[in-house]
């Protein structure tokens, strides 16, 4: 009897979890789930893997505007534009930072694939931008020389 109850409880828990997961899926697409594995990755390639990037195509249709030389790595302004049609998301990575993934932006309902933000750079490094279009990933890089460490 108690075994039956336990089975029933387990079953209900499984159903509840499945429902929760089912409900989570649409939220996952837009919001609420922070990609912990990608943001905590210590190497650029590992971060890319956690973003499910398999093949990257280098594209000059991604514009990265950042200074060639940054006096202070604590604040480096970066402007990123994707001119690739149907851009869904853009990730900004700094190869030589302790955790390379800086930010991941997803655009919907008429938002332009365009971002200006300010990032920290620990040392001289490439800034890499990864753009997702359907199942494909495009990338471009821009090197920034950093005079003063910005990660503290």
């Amino acid at each position: 009897m108690s075994g039956h109850m336990r089975q029933r409880r387990n079953f209900l828990q499984i159903v509840a979890r499945a429902l929760a997961l089912g409900l989570m899926t649409p939220i996952n697409v837009f919001a609420a789930i922070w990609n912990k594995a990608a943001f905590e990755a210590l190497k650029l390639d590992e971060a890319s893997n956690q973003l499910n990037v398999e093949v990257e195509i280098v594209s000059q249709e991604i514009d990265i505007i950042a200074p060639d030389l940054a006096e202070n790595g604590a604040i480096v302004q970066v402007e990123v534009t994707s001119r690739i049609a149907n851009t869904e998301s853009m990730a900004i990575l700094v190869e030589n930072n302790p955790t390379p993934l800086i930010a991941h932006f997803t655009f919907t309902h008429g938002a332009e694939p365009y971002i200006v933000t300010r990032i920290k750079m620990a040392e001289t490094s490439d800034i890499k931008v990864l753009v997702k279009v359907g199942d494909q990933y495009f990338s471009n890089t821009k090197n920034v020389t950093v005079l003063e460490n910005g990660c503290g």
Partner: protein, 115 residues
């Protein structure tokens, strides 16, 4: 009356502007007061300062999601963000909400104005 400081996020936490430009694109600028601590920095007593950073920022236009940003610790202190929207009209409402890793959150709404 509560005085705003680094740990007390109130309505003054965000400065926002949304301007409809001549080309039909609305440019939204957001400035947030936030320490964005990486968790790797030490204080004057050589103690690690715990990580404290904005993890998620979402923007809506008239209630519809337009931008989702996931951030790590590499966004600079007092985060700055510009993004651009198509199809917004003067008077439309842009809303920005952020959540940090310590469960703090803030939201601000602003109407689109002509440039």
């Amino acid at each position: 009356m509560v005085v705003a400081n680094m740990t007390d996020f109130n309505v003054d936490n965000m400065k926002m502007r949304a301007q409809l430009k001549a080309d039909g694109i609305t440019e939204v600028k957001v400035l947030i007061s936030h320490p964005m601590e990486t968790g790797r920095k030490k204080d004057d007593f050589y103690q690690l300062i715990p990580a404290h950073f904005v993890q998620l920022l979402t923007a809506t236009l008239n209630g519809q999601l337009v931008l989702e940003a996931q951030w790590g610790t590499g966004i600079s202190k007092n985060p700055y963000l510009t993004f651009r929207l198509n199809g917004a009209a003067v008077g439309d409402i842009v809303s920005v909400t952020w959540h940090d890793n310590l469960g703090k959150t803030a939201t601000q709404n602003i109407a689109v104005t002509p440039a």
